[in-house]
């Protein structure tokens, strides 16, 4: 009975989700009985070493792939941000966002203004006419974020979105993400996958640690640190240290 209550109020609910790739001897179990529930508006970071099925997990929630067993419930619209921006190179920054609005059947008359609004929200108001290849990596990811927001999503999936950026840009984009979340005007649930423990603690309301091969939830860490946070502050570093120790323990298990 409790499960159904959780399912109704949760933004995303995974119940005993497993995923096996391939069949027979060559089968690889990516996820094993993962259960995870997020409250609306919650920011959940998922960390783990290589081979923990982090990306698989997001693909399943996004509906790009089907779980082998288990149930996934998502309440609301889902948007996905990948490690690479995945912008369409034949469209300008504005055009990319406008296409997302168009796919959602936003009337033509509103699209233009809404596009500029979204670009403004990631501080790229003056760059609507630029093509993706003319922008820096960080700017492209911000366009990708604006495109994700254009979907008016309730759940935003982020797969190491800042992994390919330099440290300074990444720190600034963390602040940006906090700001965008406050401004979006409704509870935006975020599932954020990363292998950077500090980043997870800096951003998340909760950090979920997955084991490797197969991916299982080992432990969940609430992050009771007040916002605004800094990635180099003492409380962030301290909790990140604790989580890193547990992660290393898990990784070294595979070396034996």
């Amino acid at each position: 009975m409790t499960t159904s209550v959780i399912t109704e109020t949760a933004a995303v609910n995974l119940a005993g989700v497993s995923k096996v790739y391939g069949q027979g001897r060559s089968a690889v179990q990516a996820l094993d009985q993962v259960s995870l529930s997020t409250a609306p508006g919650e920011f959940v970071c998922i960390i783990g070493a290589s081979g923990c099925g982090k990306s698989t997990l997001l693909s399943l929630v996004a509906g790009l792939d089907k779980p082998t067993s288990g149930d996934i419930t998502v309440n609301g619209r889902v948007a996905f941000m990948f490690q690479e921006p995945g912008l369409f190179p034949w469209l300008s920054a504005g055009g990319n966002i406008e296409l997302a609005l168009r796919a959602r059947k936003v009337p033509r008359s509103e699209r233009r203004a809404r596009t500029l609004e979204l670009l403004d929200s990631v501080q790229l108001g003056g760059f609507a006419a630029k093509r993706p290849h003319e922008l820096s990596g960080g700017m492209r990811q911000r366009v990708a974020l604006a495109r994700a927001l254009a979907q008016d999503a309730d759940v935003l999936l982020m797969d190491e979105p800042f992994g390919a950026l330099d440290a300074m840009t990444r720190d600034v984009l963390h602040d940006e993400l906090d700001r965008v979340r406050e401004r979006v005007g409704k509870p935006l649930t975020i599932l954020f996958v990363t292998h950077n423990v500090r980043e997870a603690v800096r951003l998340g309301d909760r950090v979920v640690l997955l084991s490797s091969r197969p991916g299982r939830v080992i432990k969940e860490y609430p992050v009771p640190i007040e916002r605004p946070r800094r990635i180099d502050s003492a409380p962030v570093a301290e909790l990140a240290g604790t989580i890193t120790d547990r992660l290393r323990e898990e990784v070294s298990r595979h070396g034996k």
Partner: protein
């Protein structure tokens, strides 16, 4: 504070604007492109002249001077221009038909797996079939007329167009497809807004190849499918061959070469524009 830092990072990204080249620099660049071509033409001329001077096959092989004055004389008559007009028109019409058919078939085959399994290799097979193989079929089916020639062109180049579409679709980065699906593109919208533009660079490269097929097939067809009352480049060839008129033959070959180069320039320009637009060109 954070937003100031962000604005600063963005500004640094666009800090340096390379100066526009002035007239002298542009002239220098233009010359750097032109002189190797002029030198190549001069070299061919000299070699040709030398071969002529050795006296090898001297009764049938004319020198460059005789040939070019022959070309000049032909250019004064309406016949050459009329022939060029008809041949180019046939090429354009045949190519256009092949484009439409090849693109539609290519998209269907690329997007519908059973169709691909059924006819995918057939298309590649058709592409390797020499265009001359269609000539008897076309003449029996249509007779000695324009339809036969257009049919041969279409059979030769439509498979190349279809293959270009298939290759273009196959080479779309999976990330773009995932992005498109996530923003909610489906069906026709997905094809129109994502598949087609994403396949465009590979498609353009294939179109150039398809043009080569068109051109080859057309000249082969014109040599053998002689349509009464319609002078064409192929027909000029046939007449020159009958009269053992070597200077005229080489003159017409030069015309074909020039037309080929012009079309190649057109395709290179179109290709470059698309690659610039997609950010595929190297930074200059």
């Amino acid at each position: 504070m954070a937003s100031d830092t962000l604005a600063g990072l963005d500004a640094l990204e666009f800090g340096v604007v390379p100066p526009q080249p002035d007239l002298r620099e542009r002239t220098a660049r233009g010359w750097a492109v032109v002189w190797p071509k002029l030198a190549a033409i001069a070299l061919v001329w000299v070699i040709w002249e030398l071969i002529h001077l050795t006296g090898w096959k001297k009764f049938v092989l004319p020198g460059p001077g005789v040939t070019l004055s022959n070309l000049w004389n032909q250019a004064q008559t309406g016949l050459l221009w009329h022939a060029i007009g008809i041949t180019v028109l046939r090429a354009l019409v045949g190519y256009a038909i092949a484009l439409v058919i090849g693109t539609v078939v290519g998209l269907l085959v690329a997007r519908i797996p059973p169709l691909r399994a059924a006819v995918g290799s057939l298309i590649t097979g058709l592409q390797t079939l020499p265009s001359a193989a269609w000539i008897p079929f076309a003449i029996i089916l249509f007779g000695l007329n324009n339809s036969a020639i257009l049919f041969i062109i279409v059979m030769a180049s439509a498979p190349a167009v279809a293959n270009a579409v298939i290759a273009g679709v196959d080479n779309i980065p999976p990330l773009l497809l995932k992005s498109g699906k996530m923003i909610g593109l489906r069906g026709v919208g997905l094809t129109w807004h994502l598949i087609m533009p994403a396949a465009l660079p590979a498609y353009m490269a294939g179109l150039k190849q398809a043009w080569a097929f068109t051109w080859h097939a057309l000249l082969t067809a014109e040599l053998l499918v002689l349509v009464a009352g319609e002078p064409s480049i192929g027909q000029l060839f046939a007449a020159d061959q009958d009269q053992t008129d070597m200077p005229s033959t080489i003159a017409v070959m030069i015309v074909i070469l020039i037309l080929g180069i012009l079309v190649d320039i057109f395709f290179s320009q179109a290709n470059r524009r698309i690659r610039d637009r997609y950010g595929l060109s190297d930074a200059r």
